[in-house]
């Protein structure tokens, strides 16, 4: 299993300004700081409409989940959201066990998560 690979893609107009962060490999106590750095760079650069694409993530532990907790409040206070998408059943079960679906918006696909941002497709 490969460690964590992170791919960041900015959707530009006419799409809504959404940053899609695709994570592959495993997200654990060793690799979580890499994702935290990526998210911090995005948020400090003004990106507050964020989607994390989990489709190629094989494994997550609480250290990985903790990264999303760091940013969710500040992103929402700035009028954005941190949406989570395309989790395997195995990854979703960890989020579910800890009650994260109460706090986070979780979508079946990345396209659904992008489309859920306000004003999507209006331009």
């Amino acid at each position: 299993m490969t460690p964590l690979t992170i791919d960041v893609r900015e959707l530009m107009p006419p799409d809504p300004a959404v940053t899609v962060i695709r994570v592959s490999g495993y997200l654990d106590a060793h690799t979580a700081s890499d994702l935290e750095s990526t998210l911090r760079t995005a948020v400090e650069g003004g990106s507050v409409r964020l989607v994390v694409d989990f489709s190629d993530l094989d494994y997550i532990s609480s250290a990985g989940l903790g990264v999303f907790m760091v940013f969710i409040e500040s992103v929402r206070q700035a009028g954005g959201d941190l949406k989570l998408a395309a989790m395997s059943d195995r990854v979703f079960s960890v989020f579910d066990l800890l009650g994260f679906p109460v706090v986070f918006n979780i979508y079946g696909t990345t396209a659904e998560a992008i489309a859920a941002f306000p004003n999507h497709g209006d331009s």
Partner: protein, 154 residues
């Protein structure tokens, strides 16, 4: 003669020495996963046990050893026909996981907001995923703290 059931007389045991750094965790997960697969544990149980072990060891590395890779601890996996035990032994300062237990994700968020830090979710996972979690601190300085995680088959 009718053989009604067969059991292995000896439990299957494996022991791992793990460096106290987070980089060690993926290898440990892989070894335990492989050992359980060889004994035909159900895949959902394997994932639950691997995650619980990962959480226990990550806590130990971070909070007891502070990521000092000169240190190490041992993990002993013992598989019986109907149960599995993981014993994690270390000689760091005692770290009782249950003292870091948040109630739920919303209390975690409140704590995170108040302290700008937060841990404890891993302990919730560990307790949720295993049938039994026992912690015994070292009886004297230099002795071993023991955390035992038990999962029963079926």
């Amino acid at each position: 003669m009718v053989i009604r059931s067969m059991h292995r007389v000896q439990p299957v045991t494996a022991q791992f020495t793990v460096l106290a750094e987070t980089a060690s965790l993926s290898g440990l997960r892989q070894h335990v996963r492989s050992a359980m697969e060889a004994e035909r544990w159900q895949s959902t149980v394997i994932e639950a046990v691997v995650l619980a072990l990962d959480e226990a060891c990550a806590n130990l590395v971070r909070h007891a050893f502070h990521g000092d890779a000169r240190e190490s601890f041992t993990v002993t996996l013992q598989m019986e026909p109907d149960a599995l035990h993981l014993e994690i032994c270390d000689s760091a300062a005692p770290f009782n996981p249950s003292e870091y237990l948040p109630q739920d994700v919303e209390s975690y968020l409140r704590r995170h907001r108040a302290e700008k830090s937060g841990h404890g979710l891993g302990i919730v996972l560990m307790l949720s995923l295993m049938d039994e979690v026992r912690y015994v601190p070292a009886p004297q300085l230099g002795g071993a703290n023991r955390l035992t995680l038990t999962k029963r088959r079926g």
